[in-house]
């Protein structure tokens, strides 16, 4: 028999009405696509010099515009971007799920896995239907949202979308970006672990994508984005964020803080992680997968990717060294959770910076990552007494904010020629770097991100609370969400 409970009806109603809302908003400013570029010539018709320049550009991620030959997907770049995409997917499934899952009690581990899986599947569908277009489309010609032209992946073929990459198939680019849209909301639920209903989660994320993620991602990475300093000549805030310090970590971290405050503390007191080996595996897979996240954000297998690869490694290793070293000095013992936390913090803080700083910058970032989030998780949290279960705010919120700001300080234009490209010159980014004033734009971008995340989360959380409620009953919390929300137990005999 079909069981339709009231809460399920409310959930569906909530989702449906928000879908409406999203669709309405998203078509409001729909305009025609920008005028097409002049017709390119066929490779075979181009002069030999142009052909060769084109081929060299193809394998080194150069700019083919002068050759007037239409760029095509090139094996080396496509290969790297497919790998990067599957690596970032692996960060969520199983990486983050294990990292978080190991830290909760055994009676709640499945609820973590279900949240990661539920978000992955739902966000994929939204992304295909409207999300990709709202972020990377252009026909709104708006600094705040993309366009409608790629709804339902219309026009998302194996040819490149040259607004974002000359040599990578657009369908791979779309999936690569999907994996970011998946992991971002999944990060939030570390802060609310062990006391948020699965149905509430799904409704929350549905709304959050439209209200927080899509606008923010467009502002930072969209070709017409408000804060896209590197690629949008008209960016009002010429900030830089290589792989998502604001879009991914700050947005999720600050939303996590607000949501955990709204939820209140857990019923049962603090507890030990149920399986630190699981958390360790998750950490290791996050690190490995993060190369797709960071070096993949070059959207090419070029020198910028190579630099991001290097800086990611160093910052993570130094973070993983510093955090337990601090523990060893102040607490007497270096812990495995300290190693894991330091590595993740290093990854978080280097994220916005990885394609813009050199190896020395990366080491400095690693040290900061081992200290500041450590203090946030141990001292700040105790002072303010919020129950950030798995320290999402402490690591992603604080770490992301540190990363956004420090990128403005440590930026080294010699590692990334795009920092001096035409758009950067036009919108003032290049000058800000020479003047050492980039940190101002970074602070503005960080501030805007915090406002959007906080306001968005407050609104959505109260709507969801009203419609279907956020917390399970106290009984259910005692019994564990695995049985009450999913009717399963993780471990049997």
């Amino acid at each position: 028999m079909i069981k339709i409970t009231t809460s399920k009806i409310r959930l569906l109603a909530a989702i449906a009405s928000l879908a409406m809302l999203g669709a309405v908003i998203s078509t409001l400013h729909a305009e025609d696509a920008p005028a097409p570029a002049p017709t390119p010539i066929a490779f075979t018709n181009a002069p030999v010099a142009a052909q060769n320049a084109f081929l060299l550009a193809a394998v080194t991620n150069g700019d083919p515009t002068p050759t007037n030959i239409a760029p095509v997907a090139i094996a080396g770049h496509n290969a790297w971007m497919m790998v990067s995409s599957l690596l970032v997917l692996m960060m969520t499934l199983p990486g983050l799920a294990l990292f978080y899952g190991g830290l909760v009690r055994s009676k709640n581990v499945l609820s973590i896995l279900a949240m990661c899986f539920g978000i992955t599947s739902m966000v994929s569908i939204i992304w295909w239907a409207v999300g990709y277009s709202l972020v990377f489309g252009a026909n709104f010609a708006s600094p705040f949202l993309g366009g409608t032209e790629n709804f339902f992946f219309k026009g998302v073929t194996s040819d490149p979308n040259t607004s974002y990459a000359y040599w990578v198939s657009q369908n791979i680019f779309a999936i690569f970006q999907l994996t970011f849209a998946i992991i971002t909301p999944a990060l939030i639920f570390g802060a609310t672990a062990e006391r948020l209903k699965f149905s509430a989660l799904m409704a929350f994320v549905f709304c959050w994508m439209f209200i927080v993620y899509f606008p923010l991602a467009h502002m930072v990475w969209g070709s017409t984005g408000f804060m896209n300093g590197v690629w949008n000549a008209a960016a009002k805030i010429p900030a830089i964020d290589f792989a998502g310090g604001t879009v991914v970590h700050m947005s999720s971290g600050w939303s996590a803080l607000i949501l955990c405050l709204i939820l209140g503390r857990r019923v049962e007191q603090s507890h030990a992680p149920h399986n630190l080996v699981m958390t360790f595996i998750g950490t290791a897979l996050l690190w490995v997968g993060w190369y797709g996240f960071n070096a993949g954000s070059a959207v090419a297998a070029d020198g910028v990717a190579a630099n991001a690869f290097l800086t990611t490694t160093l910052a993570t290793a130094v973070g993983a060294f510093t955090w337990p070293a601090v523990e060893w000095i102040f607490r007497g013992k270096p812990t495995v959770l300290g190693f894991c936390s330091g590595a993740v913090a290093g990854l978080v803080v280097i994220t916005p910076a990885c394609g813009f700083v050199n190896s020395t910058g990366a080491v400095i970032i690693g040290v900061l990552a081992g200290v500041i989030p450590y203090l946030a998780c141990t001292i700040l949290k105790h002072i303010f007494k919020y129950d950030d279960t798995l320290d999402t705010f402490g690591i992603h919120g604080v770490g992301g904010t540190v990363g956004a700001l420090i990128t403005g300080v440590l930026v080294d234009p010699s590692v990334n020629a795009n920092l001096g490209g035409a758009p950067a010159v036009a919108n003032g980014l290049a000058k800000a770097i020479t003047d050492h004033s980039l940190v101002v734009a970074q602070a503005k971008a960080a501030g805007l991100t915090i406002v959007l995340a906080v306001v968005g989360t407050v609104v959505i959380a109260f709507v969801v609370k009203l419609l279907i409620g956020l917390r399970p009953s106290v009984e259910a919390e005692h019994q564990g969400l695995d049985i009450t929300d999913h009717g399963e137990e993780a471990y049997n005999n």
């Binding site: 603090s270 507890h271 030990a272 992680p273 523990e327 607490r331 300290g338 998780c377 949290k381 105790h382």
Partner: protein, 112 residues
């Protein structure tokens, strides 16, 4: 018949088992338990949260023996399980009214 319940340190299990076997005791049942007692636990710190571990891993041995064998068994356990350090554990002796071997339906002392 009596049941001897011994709470011992886990790494002593093999030794105790061997000592009992030498006495001709052929059966026992073992459970992993957590013990709380004079032996101090320790504090574990997971990021910011302290977590006090009062319950330490112990092994509980249950052995049902005929009345005459109690003394020897208890002595053997105490001797082999002793390290002299706090937390070595306890031995309790409880009365048993009957025992049945499921396989053969034997009862009483023959069943153990």
């Amino acid at each position: 018949m009596k049941k001897i319940e011994a709470i011992i340190k886990p790494f002593k299990l093999e030794e105790v088992k061997d000592a009992l076997s030498e006495l001709g005791i052929e059966g026992m049942t073992v459970t992993e338990v957590k013990g709380f007692g004079r032996q101090k636990g320790h504090t574990e710190i997971y990021r910011g949260s302290e977590y006090t571990v009062d319950f330490l891993p112990k092994i509980k041995l249950e052995i049902v023996v005929a009345d005459g064998a109690v003394e020897g068994a208890v002595a053997a356990i105490v001797k082999t399980a002793k390290t002299g350090k706090i937390g070595d554990g306890k031995v309790f002796v409880l009365p048993v009214e009957n025992a049945i071997r499921i396989r053969t339906d034997e009862t009483g002392d023959k069943a153990v």
